[in-house]
Symmetry: C2
Subunit: 218 residues, 2 copies
């Protein structure tokens, strides 16, 4: 018998940040036909200690039996359930420039249940176009689209100056989650909306810092 998941406990964001990575590796193992894996083997593959893996998974109740390792399919499914991946998430993308189009072109997201159902832009040249069957609409069509479709997540890829006003408009339409690529921290009127930021310039600056430190050490 595998153990049951203990929910309701507060789990640190550091642990949560590692969960998608476990999910990714377990998915690769499934693709390779691997049925069971020990925490030592998983540790070697993922370049984290076996003790870290056991600790992380113990937050959710364990999943492994001493000496038998982990059942890959079971662990994959359970982590997917923890991450909320058992349900489909509909996404709209605001901004159909290069980045918005790049997101719409990633078919990989769909395998995880994240389905982009529409792109919106203010550029009239894009009116009537579509990408992989996903329609590009004008921003003024947002309200009528939202009335007709369930939207779980809005990805913002438009310029920073209009990010706050568009984000608050989306929240007003009932959207509870924002995937923010605009180069700004959103100032939302509703503080319960979930925001995940992808700040590319911050990521470049962190790379720069680590380069400098690595040069100093060598």
């Amino acid at each position: 018998m595998e153990e049951e998941i203990v929910l309701g406990k507060e789990i640190s964001q550091a642990v949560i940040r590692r969960m998608p990575r476990y999910y990714r590796y377990l998915g690769d193992l499934l693709d390779e036909g691997v049925e069971r894996i020990s925490s030592n083997e998983l540790s070697e593959k993922m370049k984290v200690t076996a003790s870290q893996i056991r600790q992380d998974l113990n937050n959710f109740g364990g999943f492994g039996q001493q000496g038998y390792g982990y059942n890959v399919q079971y662990l994959y499914d359970e982590i997917g359930r923890i991450l909320g991946l058992q349900q489909q998430h509909n996404i709209i993308v605001i901004g159909a420039g290069n980045l918005g189009q790049a997101l719409a072109n990633y078919s990989k997201f769909e395998k995880l249940g994240f389905v982009i159902i529409g792109l919106f832009d203010v550029n009239p040249m894009l009116r009537g176009h579509s990408l992989r069957g996903i329609p590009i609409m004008m921003l003024e069509e947002l309200e009528s689209f939202a009335a007709a479709h369930k939207i779980d997540i809005a990805a913002l890829t438009m310029p920073k100056h209009s990010a706050d006003s568009v984000a608050n408009r989306l929240v007003g339409l009932g959207i509870r989650a924002i995937w923010n690529f605009a180069h700004v921290d959103l100032d939302l009127m509703d503080k319960n909306v979930v925001v995940e930021n992808v700040h590319l310039s911050d990521s470049l600056m962190q790379l720069s810092y680590n380069m400098l430190r690595s040069q100093e050490e060598s």
Copy 2:
């Protein structure tokens, strides 16, 4: 007299991750013409506690005088120096699809000293094209381009299956930093190369987790 920076001390990656955000906010303050700011005002703007700000900046020696607040320009310049932004970083982008083109089109990176000097792809349709004056070259031209130009960072935006081989080829050409957008953790032969990952699917999964928890709480 402002205090001197204490270098050589090991600073946690959690602190480092917050530095680009300080830099971004201080840049905005400069644009608004603000010369001095107290840690309380900065705290309110950035939605972190004033004590967190003081602690973070104390890692680098402080920068503030009790009762006088921070000199915005000085703090901006010093954080820039800590992040290694006083020098220009030349970037090449491998993969000139939507995401590669989106990166090349962000003029914002240049203001931070990150200059994209070339894009590479395997698609012969892109041969001879350019974006904002940045040439798109074929991947087989990589070696000759690297011989003629200083390259500090390579951004990888191509598919996961070729990421490892291209990354190791770049490292072989002397490139010491990789900004990885491929949906895979790179397996590099040289472990001293600095890698910064932008795993978009991990970010979506974390968003999904936080949505689920937020629904449970409400």
